[in-house]
Amino acid sequence: MLLEVRDLQVEFRTRDGVAKAVNGVSYGVDAGETLAVLGESGSGKSVTAQAVMGILDIPPGRITGGEILFQGRDLLKLKEDERRKVRGAEMAMIFQDALSSLNPVLSVGDQLGEMFVVHRGMSKKDARAKAVDLMERVRIPAARERVKDYPHQFSGGMRQRIMIAMALALEPALIIADEPTTALDVTVQAQVMDLLAELQREYNMGLILITHDLGVVADVADKIAVMYAGRIVESAPVHDIYKVPAHPYTKGLLESIPRLDQKGQELYAIKGLPPNLMNIPPGCAFNPRCPLAQDVCRTDEPPLHEVDENRRSACHFWRECMNG
């Protein structure tokens, strides 16, 4: 396994109390494999990714337990300067909003070249040539001229390509993409996603795709982990989950996608709001919103049941859920 997160726990200490953002998340991804992590805002999907990258703001954040095994090493046991050598070179991240993720006062060539200067100790001139190469690889037209341009001179899709180029620069083994297409036009989304998937195949990288867009997931992911209130509530190969969800939350998510054959009907929405992370309900965190909830859901936290060999569901009633 390229990356294996085991029982990760992250909390944020704030003035109002302790917010438990990640409560025992485990997932793994192999080389060449795409894992989609799905969940609402505040479900802990981005915090988990930040912990893996080592860019969590500490304080207020704190990793209170678990392991992050990357190529066999536990990243949480590395010193900060060793960790820094891993970041960017062996694992890289693509952020949601490329405009704000690029420094407005540096040209894109400088920012792309920085990867080579920092990690490879290249000269500025060589780094600039590499930057042009990278821009061509992510198919930015007239790369040689545009390498001197500033981020605001590119369109949204182009900027996201530059972010992808930056992440790919040193050919890392793992890429974490945090909602890479959310800030883009629907039409450009697919192009950027296709490019990412293609480059992933080419370099045989592991890809963790963090998203709340089920549409993006279906096309590119091999397996899915659905997160709710800092836990993984269901994990499964992508086709199984679309066919028959084994958790009422997954089911709710799938039913709330607009479909062409439901024209004229009211769109389904999961009732209620995600829980306050400072005050997660006892038992199953989803129970106040769950149509299948029974008394046991309000008292006992469901374990991750083994639905089949590759599939887990944290629901007491996963069988009922799968049977409709």
């Binding site: 860019i55 300067d81 991240m93 952020f95 407005p104 490019l195 549409g215 062409l260």
Partner: protein
């Protein structure tokens, strides 16, 4: 934006289907920057914050006027003999307090020195004290403030309490106490005192600017790509936090020139035979009724200089702060 979609060359028909298997032409058909020239200068050259600010400044009459005044002041402080042929220390007591006369347009002061020559030579002291003191506070304040803002935590709390203490010291009173024990007759004690009491002003601005800049996503992105703290601070944060420091420093420059005059007036700043507007104002003030010209010219030069720097600071702020544009 329909034009944009068109130029992106993508078919979008199916709306928000469940799975996004839309008939999207492969990524070969690339989206282009909408409208090409938008965001590029007339010559098609990339534009940065600084070149934008420069373009704004060049069109601003306040900047042009204050800039020309300052340029003039800098030139005559470097080469005062360009416009004043006399010697500011060559005085003739017989001519004390005499008014304007041919060859001596500003008249003579209480010691019989030529006011015009002394006013011209006084520029050098004022400008060099202002520039050096400002450079000192800008350097010290932005380094300490930048580190406090970036690392926060204990260092920040400690430094911020220390700046509170400095803020509590009244500048003129502090000057009277500290500088009255100094015997050296150079500009350095005055500059040192100004830096000592002045750095906190820049410290606060720099700390705040760094705290704002470090929250930007690109700082996290740089960290995720493996950049070190020093690299993030120097390359990604500093250029985005330097603008308010420049603005504050430019405005402060004028006030430090005035402060030098104040301290010299009070007798704790520079001392004769140094030629300084503050000293001349101080010497002239008892005779304000009999010979107002002795006070008028150095005081006028001081006012114009301070005003020019404050106007320049205003113009620079307008150009650098996009929210005011």
């Amino acid at each position: 934006m329909p034009e944009q979609h068109e130029s992106e060359g993508v078919v979008s028909s199916a709306g928000m289907g469940g799975a996004m298997d839309l008939a999207v032409s492969e990524a070969e058909t690339l989206e282009r920057t909408p409208g090409g020239p938008e965001g590029t200068g007339p010559a098609g050259k990339p534009r940065s914050l600084w070149s934008d600010a420069w373009r704004d400044l060049r069109r601003n009459p306040v900047f042009i006027i204050s800039g020309l005044v300052i340029l003039f002041l800098v030139v005559i402080s470097l080469w005062p003999s360009l416009i004043a042929s006399g010697n500011p220390l060559k005085c003739d007591l017989a001519k004390a307090q005499e008014g304007s006369q041919p060859g001596h347009p500003f008249g003579y002061d209480g010691q019989g020195c030529d006011v015009y020559t002394r006013t011209v030579y006084g520029t050098r002291i004022s400008i060099s004290v202002g520039v050096l003191a400002t450079a000192g506070i800008a350097l010290l304040g932005s380094v300490l403030g930048g580190l406090a803002g970036y690392f926060s935590g204990g260092y920040d709390s400690l430094m911020s309490r220390i700046t509170d203490i400095f803020f509590a010291i009244p500048v003129v009173l502090g000057g009277l106490v500290l500088l009255s024990v100094v015997t050296s007759n150079t500009i350095w004690p005055v500059i040192g005192f100004m830096v000592l009491l002045g750095w906190t002003q820049v410290y606060r601005i720099a700390r705040g600017a760094v705290i704002i800049a470090k929250q930007n996503d690109y700082v996290q992105a740089a960290r995720a790509l493996g950049a070190s703290d020093s690299r993030i601070l120097l390359r990604h944060i500093a250029p985005n936090a330097v603008a308010p420091v420049i603005v504050v420093a430019t405005i402060a420059l004028g006030t430090y020139i005035a402060l030098e005059a104040t301290l010299s007036y009070l007798g704790v700043g520079l001392k004769p035979p140094t030629v300084s507007w503050g000293i001349d104002i101080s010497a002239a003030s008892p005779y304000i009724r009999n010979a107002p010209h002795m006070l008028l010219w150095p005081a006028g030069a001081l006012a114009v200089t301070v005003l020019a720097f404050i106007m320049l600071g205003d113009a620079v702020r307008d150009a650098l702060d996009p929210k005011l544009r």
